[in-house]
């Protein structure tokens, strides 16, 4: 099998150019999908029979929570490739994921708290699902702090990558916490086997928001990856040619 396509991803100039070309192909569809999804979720979808209009926070909350886990998995996979194959670009991908993932995690926690107060009667309880999601936020913070604490870039890469890879243990705990333990958090309505427990006119905007958030993540990732490659390769000669 010809592996040149794979080895090309190990080349910073190639990745730098590729990321730059990809950005608009994700950014514009992201903007359009999120706008349509928001209109569908906030205007077209009917109110819920129990929560009224309060349920609409799900259109930001659930996609943020899904993305936070998806981004962590991406970060850990990239870190794994970086550790095992000693691929610098993979470490750059992982490093670029962390900030975005931390933001999505924070958004999912804050929107969840704002929903929890009127619906459950409390902003926060030490419930397994909520606690596991908070640990996810700390994993992102820990990853970023560890990178910042070590001056030598390749040592920082390896140490933080190991933390990211080990932290993947938390991902199934987040997903299955509501099944393994009694939790105040409701079971999944969409991300499960079987039919979603939500009518189509509520579900379609939710899936659009998920798609839009995912496209947005890739768009921001390509921008941050370019910045990360620039920072790492600031001494390299190919950069002078690109920038001139």
């Amino acid at each position: 099998m010809d592996w040149t396509w794979f080895h090309k991803f190990g080349s910073p100039p190639h990745v730098y150019r590729l990321a730059g070309r990809l950005t608009p192909w994700f950014a514009w569809p992201a903007a359009i999908t999120i706008l349509i999804g928001l209109y569908g979720g906030l205007v077209l979808a009917p109110p819920d029979y129990q929560q009224g209009d309060g349920f609409r926070i799900i259109y930001v909350h659930a996609p943020s929570a899904w993305l936070s886990v998806m981004i962590y998995t991406t970060m850990a996979s990239a870190a794994f490739v970086g550790l095992v194959w000693r691929m610098k670009v993979a470490h750059a991908v992982a490093a670029s994921c962390a900030g975005i993932g931390a933001w999505f995690t924070a958004v999912s926690l804050v929107t969840g708290m704002l929903w929890g107060k009127p619906m459950w009667g409390t902003y926060w309880v030490w419930d397994p699902r909520l606690t596991a999601q908070l640990i996810l936020l700390f994993l992102f913070f820990g990853y970023m702090a560890l990178r910042a604490a070590i001056d030598d870039p390749s040592r920082a890469d390896r140490a933080s990558a190991l933390l990211a890879v080990v932290g993947i243990v938390n991902v199934p705990i987040i997903r299955f916490s509501v099944d393994w333990w009694n939790s105040i958090h409701q079971a999944p309505s969409v991300m499960k086997l079987g039919r979603p427990t939500m009518p189509v006119d509520m579900l379609v905007p939710l899936l659009l928001m998920l798609l839009g958030f995912t496209l947005y993540f890739v768009a921001v990732l390509t921008i941050r990856l370019r910045a990360e490659v620039l920072r790492r390769e600031r001494q390299a000669s190919w950069l002078r040619e690109v920038l001139d």
């Binding site: 029979y49 129990q50 000693r86 619906m119 459950w120 009667g121 009694n182 006119d201």
Partner: protein, 150 residues
Amino acid sequence: MTPRRRRLILVSGIVAGVALAGFLVLRSLQENVMFFYDPTQVAVGEAPIGQRFRLGGMVKPGSVQRTAGTLRLAFVVTDYKRDVPVQYEGVVPDLFRENQGVVAHGRLGTDGVFVAEEILAKHDENYMPPEVARAIKEKHGGVMPKGPTP
């Protein structure tokens, strides 16, 4: 063995070790991770009776009794197998309704009545427009059909 293969085994081994450790910790802390006990667990003595704990289940239809002029409230929490009567004084969340999930934090008295200090509502994963909910209720004689778990 190539260095790459050795790193692969090392990293996978570390992840497997941490996963195993996490599994064992969560297993031994099972009771602390559990957010609430259901009425069956209370009945068979799994709940820490004598201490404060959380009781969760569904509010039994027709069981809610309010005392006029006060915030006093009595209702029955059920998991459709066992029931636990609950007393509470205070404001309850909007989603506190009959046939809805509820989590009460308090103590179980010797008389078998759970005295709650805090009431939280638990929402389920079902979302639907009001018209659909009305239609389903009419079909089932005025109550929303529910599964056996809260």
